[in-house]
């Protein structure tokens, strides 16, 4: 049974068919790549998977359960977490709080406990602190725990966003251009981190990326989108040698 099964996914914006007839099957534990030229509809696919947009057609099933029509927060609870192309951190909150916010549905003490700062509040917070610090340590961010998120370097912000997404304990992690704006060394570090989190958190990963080296280096399977439709699908070697893909990326000869 596949973890994620997307069939015939499509969405219209006014008259524009932004995504059309996309099929995607991701097995548990896979590292899947989603590539395509600018405006191919990659981020739109992410927005459809996470309930930010509602699809006009098609089905999305996670663990054989339909998630179409659910809100983003419900989808998060069924097990999909994501990062954003243009980083969306909670800037005026500390690094620690950014992660703790994502524990929201895991450590549920009541409103009354919050108002009175009762025992379940303190034990919940303590446990959250510990877990959050552990998670931050994986990314080497624990030393910045009390720093405001907006004061982090660009690379660290990207990492924090991944950490925050992982804190929701997802089955499927969607990474939207995690290497954007990074230099080659940071990119190769990031590749290691992505492999590491797959091992450590037993999470399936779908990532959007422009950096071909990164995609072909770590992804087991790739889907290429162009103008909102599927252009090619397969292993990195198959896809990157596909003449249609080369044309889409480099233009006609």
């Amino acid at each position: 049974m596949a973890l994620l099964e997307v069939k015939n996914l499509g969405i219209n914006f006014g008259g524009l068919r932004a995504v059309d007839g996309v099929n995607l099957t991701i097995e548990e534990g896979q590292l899947y790549g989603l590539i395509g030229p600018n405006g191919a509809g990659k981020t739109t696919v992410f927005n459809l998977l996470t309930g930010v947009y509602k699809p006009t057609s098609g089905t999305i099933r996670l663990d054989n359960e339909s998630i179409v029509g659910k809100s983003s927060s419900q989808i998060c609870q069924t097990g999909i977490a994501r990062t954003f192309q243009n980083i969306r951190l909670f800037n005026n909150m500390t690094v620690l709080e950014n992660v703790k916010a994502a524990f929201h549905n895991e450590f549920k003490y009541s409103l009354l406990a919050s108002l009175l700062h009762s025992k379940s509040f303190s034990s919940g917070e303590k446990e959250m602190d510990k877990r959050a610090l552990d998670l931050l340590k994986v990314f080497g961010l624990d030393i910045y725990a009390d720093e405001y998120a907006c004061n982090l370097s660009y690379g660290a912000q990207r990492k924090l966003e991944i950490a925050r997404a992982l804190a929701t304990n997802p089955k499927l992690l969607l990474l939207d251009e995690p290497a954007a704006g990074m230099n080659p060394q940071e990119t190769s570090e990031l590749m290691d981190t992505i492999r590491l989190i797959r091992e450590r958190f037993h999470v399936t990963i779908l990532l959007i990326e422009h950096d071909m080296k990164l995609v072909s280096g770590i992804c087991e399977e790739i889907l290429v989108l162009n103008f909102g439709t599927e252009l090619a699908k397969g292993t990195p070697d198959e896809v990157l040698n596909n003449p249609e893909v080369i044309t889409a990326y480099l233009g006609e000869e």
Binding site: T43, Y53, F84
Partner: protein
């Protein structure tokens, strides 16, 4: 029936003023994405300027009206430069609060200059009423219709058929892209504030001709109601502002006549709430999808 028609015409007249104010709101919101809370108070400033020109200095009516419009226009540009421009990249909450501050500032200044007591100011419009059967349409109502209609036509032409107008439309769609196409966005925003505030000046002149009593707070409520009108018609849409303004004027006038004077405001604001819940884009507005 006669009473109904009279109330209806009265509503059209009040609604025309709302429409003029709503045009300013819509244009400013369309380009600056902010509710200019001070917009209503520019009407008040306009009314006082007219009073100073006409009753204190003794200028001829037509000159007074022109001075009023120019003054309001300059005031609008100045407010934008001082208070809103520095906050263009700040969160919308900050801009909104500044706009409320500006609204208070204008009221506070006119309170200090002219005092809190109402000043009676007879209408500068001297046009004789029209009688149709047993219905009377006052000269002020006729002038209000005519002026609003001219402003509306002029504005539509300007936005759709001039270079500056297309710059405005471009900037309201996408500021960075407009900038890349060589449009001076800052100047375009200034221009929008100038035009919107000039319309508020015209509205001030028409409003004070109808009510004939000056108070520092006179612009606040019509300002907010005109915003309701702009939302009702669909914010960003010029015909929408017109339609919303007139509808709101008629609804208000009829509720005052047939339901209750005290509840008229509640009804007007109730409409806003319903519109925003049922169709936030308003009657003639476009739906927009937020980009993530």
């Amino acid at each position: 029936m006669v009473r109904f028609l009279e109330q209806f015409i009265n509503g059209l007249s009040v609604g025309s003023v709302y429409a003029l104010i709503a045009l300013g709101y819509t244009m400013v919101y369309g380009i600056a994405r902010m509710i200019n809370f001070a917009h209503g108070d520019i009407i008040m400033v306009g009314a006082y300027v007219l009073y100073v020109c006409k009753s204190i200095i003794g200028l001829p009516s037509i000159v007074s009206v022109i001075v009023t419009i120019v003054f309001c226009s300059l005031l609008g540009i100045t407010i934008e430069k001082i208070a809103y421009k520095p906050l263009r990249k700040a969160p919308s909450l900050a801009v909104l609060i500044t706009a409320i501050g500006m609204s208070f500032l204008l009221q506070a200044l006119s309170l200090l200059i002219f005092g809190a007591n109402p000043i009676t100011f007879p209408s500068v419009i001297k046009v004789s009423p029209i009688y149709i059967g047993s219905i009377t349409i006052s000269g002020i109502t006729i002038i209000t219709f005519v002026v609003t209609f001219i402003c509306m036509i002029g504005l539509t032409y300007f936005v759709n058929n001039t270079k500056a107008g297309s710059a405005m439309r471009a900037a309201s769609e996408d500021k960075p892209a407009a900038e890349l196409m060589g449009i001076n966005v800052n100047r375009t925003i200034s221009m929008v504030f100038a035009i919107g505030s000039a319309l508020a000046g015209v509205a001030g002149f028409l409003y004070i001709s109808q009510y004939q009593s000056l108070m520092p707070t006179l612009g606040a409520l019509p300002g907010i109601k005109a915003f309701v009108a702009a939302v009702l018609g669909g914010i960003g849409s010029i015909p929408g502002a017109m339609l919303g303004g007139i509808m709101l004027g008629v609804i208000e006038s009829l509720s005052k006549a047939y339901i209750s004077t005290q509840l008229a405001d509640a009804i007007v604001f109730g409409i806003l709430v319903i519109v925003l819940i049922v169709k936030p884009s308003g009657l003639l507005g476009k739906n927009s999808i937020e980009k993530v």
